[in-house]
């Protein structure tokens, strides 16, 4: 850690955290396909998950209810109307060739994760369907379509260590556990992406960011960010540019590996999702969710 501390003292490290929480519903976000978090590969698919022609999305009411509950637990403002978009890119784990998500018009805005007097502000909280998994070249669509609540954090400046990032992740786990919206102790229930970039002194803006995807524990997050900071620093010291990469992190080996080029905003096309009406959340629904938060016994 000392090497990292020295490096981070010399340059500003920008970290943007994005969390995705898998909501504990019985069926998927846009289809009635069963949605257990511990399903075996390819055991949990239906016509919609397979993107068979002629299938249409149907929105899971319980997923919305759980999303509202968690957003309230984070003190976010629920938007009375939010909208769905299709985020297009080609990947074997994305059967439709697009992911249904919310982007400019999220379910909730604002909110905070607080730890020991420090606060991580959230910019937006929105629902999205999960994508499948790729293991050793084999696609598994069991997870595809599961309901995710995405929480986008404001960029932070990390000083000395990445311990702060880990603390926020753990604090979020606690909030999720208390609000009972996810099987938080199961692997895959909460994943975190960290967008890491260095801002060398004298530069007008931060450099290109790389994204470490799907980190699941506080310690792993801290180590992954540290490893990435070292990697980028080494590149810059050699006079090389930092390429925009998507990375995975192997906590056991303390090793970053390259997933690929991340589909940047300019590569993904977005269209408003025509098959779904805008999501309308009235005050009655918000009040019911607030009541559920206050009384743990009422939570299913």
């Amino acid at each position: 850690m000392t090497r990292v501390t020295k490096v981070m003292a010399g340059a500003t490290v920008m970290v943007g955290l994005e969390f995705r929480c898998r909501l504990a519903t019985r069926s998927k976000l846009f289809s009635p396909c069963p949605s257990a978090i511990d399903a075996t590969p390819d055991s949990q698919v239906d016509a919609h998950t397979l993107a068979l022609p002629g299938t249409l999305p149907t929105l899971n009411r319980q997923a919305v209810g759980l999303a509202i509950r968690l957003a309230l637990a984070l003190d976010a403002e629920i938007e009375p109307v939010s909208r769905w978009v299709r985020k297009h890119y080609f990947a074997p784990t994305l059967a439709k060739g697009y992911q249904i998500t919310q982007r400019e018009s999220p379910l909730a805005r604002g909110g905070t994760i607080e730890v020991a007097g420090r606060a991580l502000g959230l910019t937006s909280i929105y629902l999205a369907e999960d994508v499948g998994e790729l293991r050793a070249g084999v696609v598994d669509l069991s997870r595809a379509g599961a309901p995710l609540l995405e929480l986008a954090g404001e960029p932070m400046i990390m000083r000395a260590t990445a311990e702060e990032a880990s603390a926020f992740l753990r604090a979020l786990q606690t909030i999720i556990r208390a609000s009972r919206v996810a099987d938080i102790d199961m692997p895959g229930a909460l994943r975190c992406d960290a967008h890491v970039s260095l801002w060398p002194k004298g530069q007008d803006e931060p450099g290109t960011h790389c994204t470490i995807k799907d980190v699941e524990s506080g310690p792993a997050l801290e180590q992954a960010i540290a490893a990435e900071v070292l990697r980028q620093t080494a590149l810059l010291d050699q006079g090389m540019a930092v390429a925009a990469l998507t990375l995975g992190y192997d906590a056991a080996d303390d090793r970053l590996w390259v997933c690929g080029d991340h589909p940047s905003a300019t590569q993904c096309c977005y269209l408003p999702e025509p098959d779904l009406p805008p999501l309308r959340i009235d005050t009655a629904w918000i009040e019911r969710a607030r009541a559920e938060l206050r009384d743990p016994r009422s939570l299913s």
Binding site: S27, S31, C33, P34, L50, L59, R61, P274, P277
Partner: protein, 87 residues
């Protein structure tokens, strides 16, 4: 009138995962040039203050009795048989 180049066509073809030979690129360029010119006539329309058309909202306004479009209850349905899952 927009000028569409071969490079534009090749870039679009890559984005939609379609491979074109030289003749295909040329045909694509001529087609897009003509149609994009047609689409550009929409720039002359004054749309200030006009909201985008949302077909789903058209439908929602026609429900009788009036009310929002119902969401799906969280009841799991059937999976497809393993044989139908691609390998």
């Amino acid at each position: 009138m927009a000028v569409i180049t071969d490079a534009d066509i090749e870039a679009l073809a890559h984005l939609c995962r379609v491979e074109l030979d030289a003749e295909g690129v040329a045909r694509g360029r001529s087609y897009l040039g003509a149609i994009v010119g047609l689409l550009e006539t929409l720039e002359a329309v004054d749309t200030s203050g006009i909201p985008p058309f949302v077909a789903a909202e058209l439908v929602a306004a026609l429900h009788d009795p009036p009310g929002p479009t119902a969401l799906r209850e969280d009841t799991p349905g059937p999976r497809v048989p393993a044989a139908a899952v691609p390998s």
